[in-house]
């Protein structure tokens, strides 16, 4: 049974990317971070799937789409457990875990209401100063946005 499910989850697309092991609550956030709603590709979203490792997990499959590493690593901020699986001809072509990037531009708001990015400009830029606990230092106001205060545009 497990084997059948595995086949369904991973190989159901001929070509494309599978993002597996997404924390169950963060599937829609990952969609937003990767701007998936702007794509015309077929996209399958799954949630509440059983996972041996994590209990419940989410999954996203995007047909005929491959991401650059820097592009997809952004999701490590909200889905550090995610695995990226690239499928070609129904076979696993490449499989890797996401890693937290050094810097991140856009996507995330600075939590500091007095920051210039919340008043004069809208583009943000952060240096990730703690990859484990996810702490982002704003390039402009130099305040730390923590995991608990992460807010997306």
């Amino acid at each position: 049974m497990e084997k059948v499910k595995k086949q369904l989850v991973v190989s159901a697309i001929e070509n494309g990317t599978v993002i597996d092991h997404i924390p169950n609550d963060n599937v829609s956030t990952v969609v937003r971070i990767l701007d998936l709603y702007k794509l015309d590709n077929e996209i399958f979203l799954g949630a509440n799937l059983n996972s041996k490792k994590y209990g419940k997990k989410g999954i996203i499959k995007i047909k005929d789409k491959f991401f650059e590493d820097f592009e997809i690593n952004k999701i490590a901020l909200v889905a550090s457990t995610a695995t990226i699986i690239e499928i070609k001809d129904y076979k696993v072509y490449r499989k890797f875990e996401v890693t937290v990037p050094e810097t991140i531009s856009g996507i995330i708001k600075c939590f500091n209401p007095k920051c210039v990015t919340n008043m004069e400009i809208t583009s943000t830029k952060f240096k990730i100063v703690d990859k484990k606990d996810i702490k982002l230092m704003c390039h402009y106001c130099e305040k730390i946005t923590k995991k608990e205060t992460l807010e997306f545009f």
Binding site: N112, K114, C115, V116, T117, M119, E120, I121, C138, H139, Y140, C141, E142, K143, I144
Partner: protein
């Protein structure tokens, strides 16, 4: 350092900071050096700060530079709704260097990204004020002849005082021992303590200053503001225990000096002003030399 903006003290390496401080010594000996006569410096104070503005303008004038700008925004196109970006882009066409003070945090960094000329941050809200940090370092260097292996006592509002945060970060480069004296509510934030810990330096925390002062090479006083306390009674209770008066200056080290970023309210009694330890007015004057040195370096004149 030519054309290099200074937004945060960490933008400059220790060597670059030392270069500026060494040059400041030269300006201390000979303050009037009209080496910037052909230069125009824009002084854009989106938030009034008379003291900082005058210090910068004094520095610019002693270098012979012309200063253009404003000290309040009501008479400028900013009040008509012009964006910061447009203001900076325009002013950078008229000047060789921009000095900016703004109440929005990060405004100076943003300005340096849109400006064609280098930018010096003269304070952006609660964020950074790097020239204050440099003049603090210069004052320590001048009075102790070194920045290395000193005992620094910081007193007052260590939680919100941005000058304290920058000074602590900068001094972690010099094997400093920190003595932190503050009410419990206003302790140094853990994010700043991290810098001390990362360098494996020693720090001690106190709630009164008597004991710490005896160990000090430098006592750095700051103002405790009433509005920082959630409980006004707590403020009334602690305010006098962070006032430095002459009778506390017994058994202090002979080289000990007292610094304060000014303005002072009541945290240093006036009877301290005439003691050999009082250095805060010299410190304010040092600000002019340091800014002269910095402007000269950035404009490539020295």
């Amino acid at each position: 350092m030519k054309n290099k903006s200074l937004i945060s003290i960490s933008d400059y390496s220790v060597d670059e900071i030392m270069e500026v401080l060494e040059l400041a010594k030269e300006f201390e000996k000979n303050p009037s050096q009209r080496i910037a006569e052909s230069k125009v410096i824009a002084s854009l104070f989106f938030e009034p700060s008379t003291r900082t503005m005058m210090s910068f303008e004094s520095a610019a004038n002693r270098l012979g530079a012309r200063v253009i700008g404003f000290n309040e925004v009501s008479s400028t196109s900013v009040s008509k709704g012009e964006s910061l970006s447009d203001t900076i882009k325009t002013v950078s066409l008229y000047s060789d260097l921009i000095v900016i003070r703004h109440h929005i945090e990060g405004a100076a960094r943003f300005a340096s990204e849109v400006s064609k000329v280098p930018v010096i941050n003269a304070g952006d809200g609660a964020n950074q004020h790097p020239t204050q940090c440099m003049l603090d370092l210069f004052s320590i260097l001048r009075t102790q002849n070194t920045l290395d292996n000193l005992d620094i006592v910081l007193v007052g509002d260590l939680k919100f005082g941005r000058t304290v945060h920058s000074l602590v970060k900068a001094m972690t480069n010099f094997n400093t021992t920190f003595h932190l004296v503050s009410p419990v509510e206003l302790k140094l934030p853990s994010a700043v303590k991290m810098f001390i810990k990362n360098r494996k330096l020693k720090y001690y925390q106190y709630t009164s200053m008597e004991e710490a002062i005896k160990k000090a090479d430098i006592v750095y006083m700051t103002r405790i503001q009433r509005e920082r306390f959630s409980d006004p009674l707590e403020y009334e209770r602690v305010k006098n225990s962070y006032t430095l008066s002459k009778n506390l200056l017994v058994d202090v080290k002979p080289n000990m000096k007292i610094l304060h970023p000014l303005p002072r309210v009541n945290e240093i009694s006036e009877d301290v002003d005439n003691t050999p330890q009082a250095y805060y007015f010299d410190q304010a004057l040092n600000g002019v030399y340091v800014r002269q040195a910095l402007i000269s370096k950035i404009l490539g004149l020295k």
